[in-house]
Symmetry: C2
Subunit: 412 residues, 2 copies
């Protein structure tokens, strides 16, 4: 069906079984928020939970809350919630640290498990922090080498000197999605391990780590999981590696008995060995609360809506904004795309600033990409219509040429 | 002066210029909180700040707050506040990650700076996570060896094969305090580096990293700094090492231009190279707000009160609880003690549970230590009096023998 009018787009919202979930989010009036792939929106319940954690759990019950409020178990509690969204068992995931730190842990653990092998393979244009962390680890371990290969060459390059491949499942700009199962199989065929960054996947697309036989995964809590700015990240370790995979950031929360206060490290036997220092409880509780919204739907339903939103957006932009210098980034086939869409434009930075000024919030990624995320929990079809009409107006009237939109922000 | 009555203790509170600061804290009625060395109490302003960060900055302004609310700069803003408390320059400290992760960073950086040397020296009974992290790092780097030596033997053991000493300034149980300047000098004399864990020092005792010529330091945000459960930690890098010391957890926030999204890591030139992944903003903002209380006093004044509180506590316990099997841990001389006091008791666990039940909150540290922290911002002299009388009653009446107090909690 082609959408010709806003009324038709609204009709899709009326048919959308997920539409009521938007009421769970405290989104500002007059804003179309298409940046949930960068920072997810605030659920009402999360605001209340944080307030309770601070005033009641911290303020009133103080240090007792480590036991009475379940603070000590939160990394596992939250991990179990995330596990349900990524095809993992509840005891295969913990929430902890940042995605960057967790990537270091799992790649170091993998390198130790394959200590005779020297290569870690990733791709150019992977999310920068992943490459930076790999650079850091390989600079520390002289026997390990980081090999950066274009996507199409990776499967063929995995050899018996490869310890692990480290790939981001959904690309942060192009939204292109790896075939996780096939790539993991290619790694395993020669005894290498497969490590996946799910930052742009968790809560956005259907992921089945178990079915794909993934070895390790990491991901972000503040994008589609709506955990709040800088929310704790997560780490997945396949059960078959528990007790075998040991990561070197061996802080006390990964100890078998942290409150024995003994001098010697004894690795916890489960995924909790991938914990490290004391977890940030306020942020962890926020993530815990935000994840409860996923209990009200399924990743299958969310993915179906996400695909429909992305398809409609691409279709409307290419139809209504034709001739204004936009070009779609990545493939058109939604089977191999995540839940965001990027277009290139020679004045991408200014166009995005003009959109934000008009209340359509996406973001910009260097050098010239404007990026729009479609979080099916709170974005609707009429939002897509309105965003495209806004973009069309900005391009048509060239309002993006206003010098104020060229002023660069620290964070883009 | 010997304190004979509660009235005399109260008189000390009336004379205490810091006493009004207690009103800044949202402490529960009927509780004497002597565990600020484990989890600092909640300042009223911090509750309000967190609420604003969540509802206004995250909820209303969404991703724009990375610029408009200064989120991107928070690690430096908070670092500068902490710097003022530990004798560092504002640009020598950032708040980030956990103490454990930060220790890994600085020791790895130090090992690289002294790459010809093989020893990292610490002491037995150091806070466990410090030893565990050192074990993790040395297991990763085969050329590096962890040497654990009793306190008295360390200075003599530092040799030209020593890369660094890694010590906790104030011991988490005994409260014994190293002479930071002398130990650092001993390390420097043979070309080794000195790394200090200030977790039980920052906000509790006077620290002057600059005067001591310390090379690196790390510390905790949730103890005397009152940043909330699992608050971000901090890391100090002496300015002379900026650009020279490079740590391997090279996440994007330590990149020179993180938003250029280039594939190659380029280390930021300042202490911000010690940042890693995306910081947890809610917890970071809480710490930022809590630190503002320190603007209303000085570490000199806080230390003077802390010494007076600890002295009074030791004196009253030893006088009023004599004969009940308590023995002071560590030296009596406050010049070499931090701001907490531990006593051993064969039923320490049960005694502490009985105290907590009665509203006097300290904590227990294996195997038999009951530990009391004296945060001069909100603990008063009458609190000390009342706590000791409560302890006396429990010991005298043996109420700690109630079986309910023997039930072990997950966190002690």
């Amino acid at each position: 069906m082609t959408i010709e009018t806003r009324r038709q787009a609204s009709a899709l919202d009326n048919l959308d079984e997920l539409a009521p979930l938007r009421a769970a989010f405290d989104l500002p009036e007059g804003v179309i928020y298409l940046d949930g792939n960068s920072l997810g929106a605030l659920p009402f319940a999360t605001g209340e939970r944080v307030s309770n954690v601070v005033s009641a759990e911290w303020g009133r019950d103080l240090v007792k809350s480590w036991n009475s409020a379940g603070w000590m178990n939160l990394p596992k509690t939250v991990g179990a919630r995330i596990a349900a969204l990524i095809g993992a068992d509840a005891d295969e995931v913990v929430a902890t640290d940042s995605t960057s730190v967790n990537l270091f842990k799992v790649v170091a653990a993998a390198a130790r498990m394959r200590s005779g092998r020297h290569k870690i393979i990733s791709e150019p244009g992977n999310f920068p922090t992943d490459l930076y962390m790999l650079e850091g680890l390989t600079s520390l371990l002289p026997n390990l080498e980081l090999i950066i290969l274009p996507r199409g060459e990776i499967a063929g390059a995995i050899d018996d000197n490869t310890a692990a491949i480290v790939l981001t499942h959904v690309h942060y700009v192009t939204a292109e999605m790896f075939d996780m199962k096939a790539m993991t199989k290619a790694a395993h065929a020669v005894g290498a391990l497969a490590i996946w960054d799910l930052s742009h996947s968790a809560g956005a697309v259907e992921v089945n780590l178990g079915d794909a036989k993934a070895d390790f995964a990491v991901g972000c809590g503040y994008k589609y999981l709506n955990g709040g700015p800088g929310a704790p990240a997560f780490v997945y370790v396949a059960k078959r590696h528990h007790g075998v995979a040991v990561q070197p950031l061996s802080g006390w929360h990964g100890h078998k008995r942290p409150f024995d206060f003994i001098d010697a490290y004894e690795a916890a036997s489960g995924v909790d060995q991938f914990l490290c220092g004391t977890p940030g409880i306020i942020g962890m509780a926020a993530l815990d609360e935000s994840l409860k919204i996923f209990d009200r739907t399924s990743m299958k339903a969310l993915r179906a809506k996400s695909v429909a939103l992305c398809k409609l957006f691409i279709e409307l932009v290419e139809r209504d904004c034709a001739g204004y210098g936009l070009s779609l980034v990545g493939l058109r086939d939604m089977d191999v795309r995540g839940s965001h869409v990027s277009f290139r434009h020679s004045h991408g930075y200014e166009v995005m600033k003009a959109l934000i000024h008009a209340g359509v919030i996406g973001d910009f990624r260097a050098p010239d990409h404007i990026r729009f995320g479609f979080t099916p929990l709170y974005v609707g079809f009429a939002d897509v219509w309105d965003a495209v009409q806004c973009l069309k107006g900005i391009l048509q009237e060239e309002t993006y040429k206003d010098p104020e939109f060229a002023v660069r922000d620290a964070v883009t």
